[in-house]
Symmetry: D2
Subunit: 345 residues, 4 copies
Amino acid sequence: MKIKAGIIGATGYAGAELVRLLLGHPQAEIAAVSSVSFEGKAISEVYPSYYGLCDMVCQKAEDVVEKSDVVFAALPHGLSQELAAQCREQDKVFIDLGADFRLENEDDYKEWYGGEYLDKELHRQAVYALPELFRENIKGKKVIANPGCYTTGVPLALAPAVKGGLVELQGIIADCKSGVTGAGRGLSQNTHYPDLNEGFHPYKVASHRHTPEIEQTLSHLAGSRVKVTFVPHLLPVNRGILSTCYARLKPGVTAEQLRSAYEDFYRDEYFVRLLPAGKCADIHNIKCSNFCDISLHVDERTGTFIAVSAIDNMVKGAAGQAVQNMNLAFGLPETVGLTMVPAAF
Amino acid sequence: MKIKAGIIGATGYAGAELVRLLLGHPQAEIAAVSSVSFEGKAISEVYPSYYGLCDMVCQKAEDVVEKSDVVFAALPHGLSQELAAQCREQDKVFIDLGADFRLENEDDYKEWYGGEYLDKELHRQAVYALPELFRENIKGKKVIANPGCYTTGVPLALAPAVKGGLVELQGIIADCKSGVTGAGRGLSQNTHYPDLNEGFHPYKVASHRHTPEIEQTLSHLAGSRVKVTFVPHLLPVNRGILSTCYARLKPGVTAEQLRSAYEDFYRDEYFVRLLPAGKCADIHNIKCSNFCDISLHVDERTGTFIAVSAIDNMVKGAAGQAVQNMNLAFGLPETVGLTMVPAAF
Amino acid sequence: MKIKAGIIGATGYAGAELVRLLLGHPQAEIAAVSSVSFEGKAISEVYPSYYGLCDMVCQKAEDVVEKSDVVFAALPHGLSQELAAQCREQDKVFIDLGADFRLENEDDYKEWYGGEYLDKELHRQAVYALPELFRENIKGKKVIANPGCYTTGVPLALAPAVKGGLVELQGIIADCKSGVTGAGRGLSQNTHYPDLNEGFHPYKVASHRHTPEIEQTLSHLAGSRVKVTFVPHLLPVNRGILSTCYARLKPGVTAEQLRSAYEDFYRDEYFVRLLPAGKCADIHNIKCSNFCDISLHVDERTGTFIAVSAIDNMVKGAAGQAVQNMNLAFGLPETVGLTMVPAAF
Amino acid sequence: MKIKAGIIGATGYAGAELVRLLLGHPQAEIAAVSSVSFEGKAISEVYPSYYGLCDMVCQKAEDVVEKSDVVFAALPHGLSQELAAQCREQDKVFIDLGADFRLENEDDYKEWYGGEYLDKELHRQAVYALPELFRENIKGKKVIANPGCYTTGVPLALAPAVKGGLVELQGIIADCKSGVTGAGRGLSQNTHYPDLNEGFHPYKVASHRHTPEIEQTLSHLAGSRVKVTFVPHLLPVNRGILSTCYARLKPGVTAEQLRSAYEDFYRDEYFVRLLPAGKCADIHNIKCSNFCDISLHVDERTGTFIAVSAIDNMVKGAAGQAVQNMNLAFGLPETVGLTMVPAAF
C-alpha cells in the first residue's frame, strides 16, 4: 500500500515541486493538498504544467492532515509549529520545509526570524534532516526539519574539509548564486522579468537568515563554533544554486589529501557527485534532479581551498530532500522516486 | 527481459535526449552507443549531466547494431539508408530520427534534400510514424521514420480541423517558433550565446525542409493536396516549439464545432492535452515531457481559425516520440517510460 | 534655448525611457516629472540606472504642465483626456503615449476600451502621429497621439504593399512577438521571472486592443476598410517586437515589384532600414534605438507575401517615436537625439 | 578637426564596441577598420546592428595605421607588439586592448601568457592606463595599455580600502561573475547557447590570466606585494561583470571609515558611482555605459569587508575605457562621447 502524502502550501514553488516529485514516486501518492490563497481551486489551474496529471482541488489544511500518513508543510516561517503539533497528536510524520524547526538554539531563531518556540518539547523531538550529514539521527523521527537551499549547498561543499580538520575555521566565505525560484512565487519588483533579466546582484549581504543555519551545521561537523561570511546573489535563471566556498588551508594540507577526504566522505552517497579533478560544478548539470555536484580546487599561490557545489534549489534544496527524508522516515531506500536523470540541456 | 536499445549518433542533442529517456525506461536498457565525433569517449564526458548515470563509452556503429534489438539513428540526413539496410539484414527494428525515410515521394526528397533513395524496397517497407495520426500503420513495422519537430507540432495542431473538413485547405499558414536545441549541438555564429540572447528572428522563410513533410501529413488527412506557408523563427530558449497555425474557416463553421471535433479526435490520446477554452498553449508547460498542448481560438471578425500547439522539440519532436514508436513496435503500452510530469517552472 | 519637456507618468517603463532619451537630447531638457505612485521620490530611486544622472523628484502633474513647453503623458488609457485639455488651455504641446486619442472613431474606442470621448473638439484637434506614414498631418499640431508598439511595427511592415495595391486586403495576418517590457512595470504572475523565463505563448488572441488601431492605419493607406487577424505573443526578452505579417499577393505581383515599392516608399526615411534580400529582421539589431528594420520575403509556392519588421517597443514603439514627434512639432530635424547606434550584442 | 581613429581587429567584440562608441563620439571619427577574418567585408555585414550606420569595409592593418591619428588594437595577446612599433615609427597614438603591454614584469608575462617582450624599450614607454587610479601617468603617453575587464572591476572595488590601509593585504578574495561577451566572438561549446543558458559555473579557478594584472595594480596601491585569490564565473547574460571582493578589516576599522575613504577617493570621478548605504551594485544598471557602480558592505560578525563593483565588460572593461584613454591622450575631457545614460531595463 502506498504512503499517503499530504501537502500544505501546495501552490508555492516548493509545494508545487513536491507535487511533481510525488506524482512520480512509485511508493507514495498524493492524498490531499491545501493552499490558503487557492482554496477550492485545482492545482493544475495554478500550474498548467500539471493539467490532466494533477487536477486535485486545494482543501483546508486540517483535511489534508487527516487524510495523510505524512504531511509536508511548505509555508512561510512561523506557521509550522501549530501544524506540527496537530500532526503529532494524530501520529502523522511531519516534514517541514520552512524554517521553524531548523535552529537548535531558540535565541538564534529570535535574532534572525523574530519569533519564538511555542512548544519546546516539540522542538526537542525535531531533527535537522540533511541526510548525507546526519542520517543516523533522522531514522525513526516524526518531526523533521528539512534544510533550506543555501544551507544544503554550502555544508555539503565544505563538510569533509571541515570535519576532517583540513581547513582553518576562521575566515570561511560562502559566495552563493541562486536561481529566481528561491525567491518564491510571490510577486516583487525584484523578480519582475525585465528588472531581473540580464541583471545580477548580491542581496542581504552578510545578513541572510540562512547564516545561522549554515553555521550550526558546520559547527556540528567541526566540533567547535564556526562563523561564516555568507553573501547570496540572484541569478537570472529559474533553478539552481552554485556555492563557491573559500577556506584557508591548514599548513601542509595538499590538494590530494582534500580530494581523498571527499572521496571517503561521499563514497556511498548516491546524490553527491564528486567531479573529477579539472572539472567545475555547474548548475546546468543538476536541473530538476536531487544531485549535488561538487568540484574541488586549490589556489596554491594563496593557500586557499575552494569547494564549489551545485544543487537544484527546488529539489535537493527543498522538495527532493523532503522526499528523501520521507523515504528515510518510512524505511524505504533513500533514492526511491528520486532517480530522474538531469537533462543534458 | 528488457529491450536492448542502441543509439547511433548518441552525442548529438537528439541522441543525448534518447539516453536520458532510455535510462528512465522500465522495460528497455541502453545496450551500446556510438558517435563519430566522440568514439572512445564516455557519454558523460560530453554531457556532464549524465556523470555517474551513463558513463558508457562510444563505440562503432556496427557494434551498436549487433548488440541491440532496436537501433535508434540520430544522424544528419543521408546517413541512415545504409544503416537501415544493415538493421533489416540482422532483423533489428530501426527507428530513424533523421529525414531519410520521411518523404514518400522521392522527388520531394530530391528537391528539398538533394539526395536520392538508394534502396527503393527499403523505402516501401518504411512507415511514417506519428502515432496519434497513423498508429495503425505503425504496428509490426521494422523501419520507422520518426517525424521531425515542426512536422509533429503543426499537423497535431491542425489535424482534426483538416480531416474534419472544417477549414479551407488554401492559405494555411504555420508561424512556428523553436528553441535553440532544434539547431543541434554543432557550433554556429547564429547560436553563439551573445548573438542569440535577447534576439528573435525568422529563418529559412518559406524554404525550410520541413515544408514538404508537413504538407504530406496534412494532405493525407485532407485526402487532397495541401500547401502550407511555413515560417520558422528562433526563440532564445533551450527547448520547445510553439506553432501558431492559421486557416480560414469554412462558411458556417463555429468555434463549438471545432472544439467538439478536437475533443473527439484526441479523446484517447494521453500525450495530447486539449486546453480548456480561454487558455493558451505555452512551451513553458511541456518542458522535458512528451506532451503536446493545444489551444483553439477563433477570430470571428475575420473568419480565421487559430490553433496553437506546444511541444518539446527534443521529446515529442524527437527522442520521446521515438521511444513512443519503440513501445508501439514492441507491443508495449505507448506511454511506458514517458509519463514524466513537466516541471511547473 | 532648450525645449522644456515634462513627463507625466515618468516611473512607468515608457516614462522612464523618455527620461533616458531626453537626458541625451541636445535641444531639450527635462523640466519636471510626475508619478502618482512615487510622488516625492527621485526617479533614480525607482530606476537605479539613472543614479547621479537624473535624481529629479516626482512632483504633481499640474506642476509638470506648468513648467513645460511640451508634456509627454505615459498613462493608462482614460487618464489623458483631462490632461490634454489642461495643456491646450496653457498652450503646451501635448504628446500622449496612451491610447485616448489614437482612434478616430469613438465607437471603436467604446468597443475596445470601454470609455468615451469627453471633449469631442479636442479629439478633432488631435493627430495620429506615425511620422513615416502621416508626417504632413503632424506639423503644427499640438495634441499628438503617439502610436502604440504593435501598431507601429505592423503598419510599417505592410504600408508600401497595402498602399501600392500589391496585396489582397482580405486575409492579412499579423503574428507578433513582443518583449516583456510591453506589459509594463506593474507586477503580474504572467511576468514573474520564473513563470515567463524559458516560456513562450500567445495572449489575447484575436482580441488585443491594438487591433482597431492597426486596421485604422492600414485602411487609410488602402483607401478602403481593412481587417486584420492579429495574434500577439510574449517573448522572454526585455525589449523588441518582431511582427511577421502575411498577405496574399495580387495576381502577377513579383518579389522585385514589392522590393522596388518598399525602396521607393522608405528611401528617405532615416529610421526605417529595408534589409537586403536574403536577410531577416531581428530584434537583436535594433535594441535601444529608434530603428525599424524590415525584411521582405515571398513564398512563390503559395503566393504569399511575408513582411517582417523589428522595432524596440520602448523606443520606436513608444518613447523614441514620441521624441521624434516632439522634434516634428518644434520644427527640429526628426532625428535629433535619436541617432544612437544599436549595440552589436 | 576630428581625431582620426583606426580600429585593428574591428570584428571582434571589443572592436565592434569601439565602432559603436566612436560613431557616437563628437570629436572623433572612424578613419578605417581592419579584420583578418573579414578583410574585404563590411562591418555591417558582420554586425547587422550597424547596417546603414557603418558600412565601412575591413582593410589591411597597415592601411589603418596610415590613415589614423590613434590606433586601437583589439587583438589576441602576442599580436600587438609589432603593431605598436609601427605606430611609434609613424608617431601615432597606440591604444592596446590586448594584454601585451599590461604587465610591467616580463616574468609575469612569460609565466601567464607564455610569450616574451620583443622590444623592451617599447614596453618602458608603455603606460598601464586605468584612469581613475593612474591618471597622471597617462597624460602625454603614446603607447597605452588598456586594462582588461576583471582587472578594471576588481581594483576599482578595492582601491580606496587597499590604498588607505583599511584592510589586511593577505587573504583578499575576488569572486567575479562575467557576461558571455567576455569570452569573445569565437565559437566554443562553452558559449553555445543551449550549453550556457540556464547554467552557471566557475572557470579557470585560481588560474585566470588576469590574476597577475589585478595583483600588480593592488600592489601599486598598497605599496607592497598583494596576492589575490581570483575565481571568475560565467553568467548567462551578454554584458556585465559583478565583482564581489572580500578582505579582512584591519582592527578597529569601521563601516563609516570605509565609506568616507571611498567618498574621498572617488569624489571627482564621473564614471564611478558609489551607491548609497543599503544598495547593492547590479550589472543591470550599467549596461552599455562606462560607469562602475560600487556598493560597500561590512560583515561585523566576521570582521569582513565586502566591496561589490559592477561594470559593463565591453565598455568600462574594454572599449569605453579605451575611448576614455584616447580622450586623455588627446587632451579632451575624459567623458566626451561616454555620457550615454544606461537603460533602465
